[in-house]
């Protein structure tokens, strides 16, 4: 056994198996992509006579207060929630990296301005910002996405800024400058690929958080509005039925939320282990 391997196993002997993360990812992915085509019932169609039925062979997760099949709604929600989360995270990754790279490379006033901007953003809690944006731009999905993008900007911008700044004096960067390669090319094509693993890990962990946020905001009434299915709304509407005992209205969407966040958490861990440079 190599010295490095021995030290690693001495420090962290137990790790969650990678295949769990992969299996969950596949499950979530299929739900989002092909789920809506395979569900047995229309997620929006109401059928009041069969409202609030317990889980059965006809309705795996039961029916809700308007007779809609909970199972179908839960599956269809995957696309909505994951869609919002992915869009938001990818957008913020791109914009945040660009801002951070500019600040890290140029330094001086660029850095000062970007840093103050990021500081300002960090002062706002997500929900306050989301409400503000919803008030300004109208209550829609895009407002939720925009709010999530803005709130997450500092996460990526600061990381990229630090890394670019740190590597700015690296010999291979100087060598590229010596060869006459321009700064934009150097940052984008020479330096960013080295940050890709870190950013991938950050993004996958961030996805879990973004899903929770989308659900949380719609729980409060921002973003997705009924009758469209979404895990947050379903939990919100189902919460009213806790006392009367129709547990299937909020337990199933809640468990799905948990699974979704867990998926990306485990994926982030697995990515971090796999991309650990000492393993190469």
């Amino acid at each position: 056994m190599s010295e490095a391997a021995a030290e690693r196993s001495f420090v962290s002997p137990v790790r969650a198996p990678e295949w769990v993360a992969v299996a969950l990812l596949v499950l979530m992915g299929s739900m989002a992509l092909i789920g809506p085509f395979l569900v047995p019932y229309d997620a929006i169609a109401t059928d009041p006579p069969i409202a609030l039925q317990q889980p059965s062979s006809a309705h795996l997760f039961g029916t809700d207060q308007l007779g809609r099949d909970v199972f179908s709604r839960v599956i269809v929600s995957a696309r909505v929630d994951l869609g919002i989360a992915f869009t938001a995270v990818i957008t913020t990754l791109l914009i945040g990296s660009a801002l951070g790279a500019a600040a890290g490379w140029a330094g001086g006033w660029t850095d000062r301005i970007v840093s103050r901007l990021l500081d300002t953003i960090m002062a706002f809690p997500l929900f306050v910002l989301a409400v503000g944006i919803a008030a300004a731009l109208g209550n829609s999905v895009s407002s939720v996405v925009i709010a999530t993008v803005i709130v997450n900007l500092p996460l990526y911008a600061r990381q990229v800024r630090t890394e670019i700044n740190r590597r700015r004096g690296a010999a291979y960067v100087e060598a590229a400058q010596l060869a006459g390669i321009g700064p934009f090319t150097i940052v984008a094509l020479h330096m960013m690929p080295n940050l890709a693993p870190q950013l991938a890990v950050q993004a996958s962990l961030n996805l879990g958080w973004a899903i929770l946020n989308a659900a949380g905001l719609s729980f409060l009434g921002l973003g997705i509005r009924p009758p469209h299915p979404e895990w947050g709304i379903m939990v919100s509407e189902g919460a009213a039925y806790i006392i009367s005992g129709e547990w299937w209205l909020f337990v199933f969407p809640g468990v799905m939320l948990l699974l979704a966040v867990l998926t990306f958490s485990l994926t982030g861990d697995a990515l971090r282990d796999r991309l650990d440079p000492r393993r190469a």
């Binding site: 056994m1 190599s2 010295e3 391997a5 021995a6 030290e7 196993s9 001495f10």
Partner: protein, 325 residues
């Protein structure tokens, strides 16, 4: 325990091996025999991957717990260090065995003053306190030739140059009045003139206190200037051991000879320089019994299958080689 009074060797190691992982894995450091007498100044020379630092850490008692040590004999001043008892080492480390590392700045705590570092050691090992402790700290700094020791004692490591930090490390190592000083590449990263001053300092103290010194270095020329005896390591094995002049005059192991021939100080022109072909053997793949066999121009089949015995001649010059020069 008074290590200097006895006539037996200070440090005696026989068949010591260090391995990472279970007993099935080949050992990283293999079959080490080493004896250091009182007051002897020895250099352990090797390139990267030779295992010299691992061995130094083992002797100093600070080997990473991810590794395990096996030895037929591993004694310091009569104390058996083979048992995994931490307290066997704890009483020795810092008092009887002093340690100096490379990169002194990283070994000092940046938020504590220089004086407090030395005070810790003095308090722990000599039980001094208050006024006498303060005086001892200043005396310790003066002994390593730091100017204005009283003022320096109140400085922080960040305010000192690399050479000064190393002097502080040496003061800490000497504070317990050790009988063995282990110096692991103490001058790497320091300027040439500072390097000379630091090594002179260590040597002066070693001679004055009759303190044995184990220098770990990759620089053969440096070893020649300061050590009485040189031990050459390659890939975790000791390949040659000799009094300094004898090693340079007539090396017996092909690796030592190759190392000499690669040293710029030894070469008249670039044409005289010779590199060593090949790479270190990879652990895990079947490694030849003599780990230099794959890179050696003189290798015979026996080198791969049977580990060469270490043979000494009358002048305490020994090598582990079937085809020694």
């Amino acid at each position: 325990m008074n290590a200097r009074a006895s006539t037996s060797p200070l440090l005696a190691i026989e068949a010591l091996s260090i391995r990472f992982g279970d007993d099935q894995c080949p050992s990283t450091v293999d079959a080490i025999d080493l004896v250091i007498g009182r007051g002897e100044i020895i250099a352990l020379v090797g390139e990267s991957g030779s295992g010299k630092s691992l061995l130094a850490h083992t002797i100093a008692g600070i080997l990473t717990p991810a590794a395990s040590v096996r030895a037929k004999r591993f004694e310091f001043a009569g104390v058996d260090l083979r048992s995994p008892q931490e307290h066997a080492f704890a009483s020795l480390r810092g008092r009887e065995i002093g340690i100096v590392f490379q990169n002194p700045r990283s070994a000092l705590n940046p938020v504590r003053t220089v004086g407090s570092h030395i005070a810790d050691v003095l308090h722990e090992h000599r039980g001094l306190r208050f006024r006498r402790l303060e005086a001892a700290v200043i005396a310790a700094l003066a002994a390593v030739r730091i100017p204005e020791p009283a003022a320096r004692a109140r400085s922080y490591p960040g305010e000192l140059s690399g050479g000064m930090c190393q002097r502080v490390m040496i003061a800490m190592a000497l504070a317990g009045d050790p009988s063995l000083l282990v110096a692991d590449e103490p001058t790497t990263g320091l300027d040439t003139t500072t390097q000379a001053a630091i090594l002179d300092l260590i040597l002066d103290h070693a001679r004055a206190r009759r303190m044995a010194t184990l220098f770990i270095t990759h620089d053969l020329v440096l070893a020649r200037a300061y050590a009485e005896r040189i031990v050459v390591m390659h890939a975790g094995q000791i390949v040659e051991e000799a009094p300094t002049d004898r090693l340079f005059a007539a090396p017996r192991h092909p690796y030592s000879a190759a190392l000499l021939s690669a040293t710029p100080a030894n070469a008249g022109t670039v044409a005289d320089l010779n590199g060593i072909p090949g790479n270190l053997p990879k652990l895990g793949v079947s490694i030849p019994a003599c780990r230099f066999a794959e890179r050696c121009a003189r290798a015979i089949p026996r080198c791969r299958s049977e580990r060469p015995a270490f043979v000494f001649d009358t002048s305490r010059h020994g090598a582990a080689c079937w085809v020694s020069l």
